[in-house]
């Protein structure tokens, strides 16, 4: 085969790899998402690492999602005033704090070809009861085109935080990373702060694994596609460049 023909074949294969999604984003039906949220919080309450109040804290998003039934275009929030609250912990200074998870917005639409994730802001705050100590806060965010930074990112601080002593100086870096939803953040907190319980009681629980898998299939494929697109494509732009807002292209379009 002539060199030129070989190149055409190579280019075609490369285009195929770029075009075909490895794993598609899987948007659960709204009523299922309600069930997953409820079950994930309940399981962690049962494990003793999330406070029982949290079941009522998520009652609003649950009833909202239930009403939408089989819709695959839905959104929900968990307000910062009534977050999911983990069991209290102490830091190295013996100061008590509590991990809290809230959601300013998660919006998805399975019918949008390319990027089903429309709006995203999931917050983890380590709430200190001593108000003289700032409460660290991170959030997963889906940026918009006008914003400088990666489309999907993790950021420290941000707007709406009660304790803003560090916010202004720490709006960057925005870490280029796959998004996490409520369930994935709950698992992350469980694993990092309550490792023994997570390890012995939670992570291998079949029901728990299914809940997490559903969220992984919702949140991760988009980023995985970007990784694949850029890692596989020779001298293409870096992953970060490809994920930056001003150059972002929805991978499945």
């Amino acid at each position: 085969m002539k060199e030129r023909e070989k190149q055409v074949v190579r280019d075609a294969k490369q285009d195929e790899r770029k075009a075909a999604p490895l794993i598609e984003t899987s948007v659960p039906e709204a009523a299922d998402m309600a069930k997953y949220l409820e079950q994930s919080v309940s399981k962690l309450v049962d494990a003793g690492i999330v406070e029982g109040d949290s079941v009522m804290a998520i009652s609003q998003p649950i009833s909202h999602l239930r009403k939408l039934k089989r819709a695959t275009c839905w959104s929900y929030s968990i307000s910062a005033g009534t977050p999911v609250q983990f069991a209290r912990l102490k830091d190295r200074r013996n100061k008590e704090f509590q991990p809290q998870v809230s959601v300013e917005a998660i919006s998805v639409d399975a019918d949008i070809n390319g990027c089903a994730l429309i709006n995203w802001n999931v917050v983890l705050k380590l709430h200190y009861f001593d108000t003289s100590i700032p409460s660290p806060r991170w959030h997963f965010d889906l940026g918009n085109q006008e914003q400088e930074g990666p489309r999907m990112h993790l950021q420290y601080g941000g707007h709406g935080n009660d304790d803003r002593m560090l916010d202004e100086t720490l709006k960057v870096p925005r870490w280029n990373t796959m998004l996490m939803d409520t369930i994935l953040v709950l698992e992350c907190v469980a694993a990092n702060f309550y490792h023994d319980i997570w390890s012995n009681q939670v992570r291998s629980d079949t029901g728990w694994k299914r809940l997490v898998k559903s969220s992984e299939r919702l949140c991760y494929p988009l980023f995985v596609s970007k990784l694949y697109e850029h890692l596989n494509a020779g001298d293409s732009d870096s992953v970060l460049h490809g994920c930056w807002n001003d150059t972002w292209k929805d991978p499945f379009n």
Partner: protein
């Protein structure tokens, strides 16, 4: 249609007085009984076929004719409840009516008899005209609620009791409720107790007025009446069992209704912002609530303090010792201000949960400043 009440008291004068005070409109406490021995008293009560039974706490203070009234209300209630398990059609609400000191001591959750009574009234509450009116409304709602439970016992479902469609209950119901309901083996007073203790008396699936005020982030005022009417007209009020005597609103409807009108969940908005929007929405001037701890109107008010009922934010509050609370009820919390004073907690027989006790101490010692 007359709803028949029966009242038992060892004091003749109080027997006449309180039976008259509790009789109003449809409700008539025509059957009044001085206690004799337990068996005889029980039989006499049953023979009257009451729709509701009121008992004075101390049935043994004054000797009656036989001199065999050596028991208190709890023993009588227990005997009646046991019989009702085998004859559910004859089950009826049993309320306690007594002085504050006695009820306070007798009715705390760790006392055995706590769960025997559907409700308790203070004698001092029913002696005023308004107090009597409110008490009668509650008594009637208890009688009507029991009737509805008994009439629908064969359905083995909560839905007919809630004035809610199946679909709406699927939306609103918290996990575990249906299973718990099935565990009750269709005993009316068990079902009634479950609903009253966990849904009427506690914030969770239903909101009381103070919970609505806290969610709206407003100060309590006469203007709230306009808000209340608006919520009722919008179909948010709970019309299920006991609702006619204990006004409540469906949480899921309130959340949905307010999120549509305010643009986002209320508890994600600052209190002053909520109050401003609420004023426009309801067409009345509503003052924002101010944190009891730091005076700010910008806090994320989320619930009513269990000691002072004032709108309170999570971050300046502590959990109350609340054993046996089901997951579908909100945990009771108190504001830092009430913790610092302590007296409001004592008055309502509350104490800070063990897990928060160290923070409570810091508040009382002044180590945590208002801010």
């Amino acid at each position: 249609m007359t709803i028949l009440g029966c009242y038992v008291d060892d004091n003749v004068d109080e027997l006449k007085m309180y039976s008259a005070l509790m009789s109003r409109g449809e409700l008539e406490f025509t059957e009044t009984i001085r206690p004799e021995n337990l068996g005889a008293t029980k039989r006499r009560i049953r023979e009257t076929h009451p729709a509701i039974l009121a008992l004075d706490y101390r049935l043994d203070e004054l000797a009656t004719e036989s001199g065999e009234n050596d028991y208190k209300a709890g023993a009588l209630a227990q005997a009646l409840r046991e019989e009702a398990v085998d004859d559910i059609g004859s089950d009826f609400p049993i309320v306690l009516i007594s002085t504050e000191e006695k009820i306070h001591k007798f009715f705390s959750p760790d006392k055995t008899a706590h769960d025997l009574f559907d409700y308790k009234f203070l004698k001092s509450e029913v002696v005023t005209d308004r107090g009597s009116e409110i008490a009668v409304q509650k008594l009637l709602s208890l009688a009507e609620g029991y009737k509805r439970i008994i009439d629908n016992i064969e359905t083995k479902s909560l839905v007919p009791l809630l004035a809610l469609s199946e679909e709406d209950w699927e939306t609103a119901k918290p996990s575990g409720v249906d299973y718990q309901f099935q565990d009750f083996n269709n005993v009316p007073h068990v079902i009634a107790r479950f609903w009253i203790r966990n849904f009427v008396e506690r914030c969770g699936v239903l909101f009381a007025e103070k919970d609505i005020i806290a969610r709206l982030g407003i100060a309590k005022s006469a203007e709230f009446e306009a808000v209340r009417q608006s919520l009722i007209e919008s179909g948010l009020r709970y019309d299920g069992i006991f609702g006619s005597g204990f006004e409540r609103f469906w949480r899921f409807r309130f959340d949905e209704w307010t999120t549509e009108r305010f643009g986002r969940p209320l508890t994600s908005m600052r209190g002053d912002e909520r109050a401003e929007k609420a004023s426009k929405l309801f067409g009345v001037a509503l003052e924002p609530a101010a944190s009891r701890w730091n005076g700010r109107t910008s806090e994320l008010f989320a619930f009513a303090c269990s000691a002072c009922d004032h709108p309170t934010e999570l971050r300046n509050s502590l959990a109350i010792h609340d054993p046996g609370r089901p997951s579908f009820c909100e945990r009771r919390r108190v504001c830092f201000d009430c913790v610092s004073k302590d007296e409001p907690l004592i008055k309502r027989n509350l104490r800070v949960d063990e897990i928060d006790e160290s923070i409570a101490k810091e508040i009382r010692d002044g180590a945590i400043e208002r801010g």
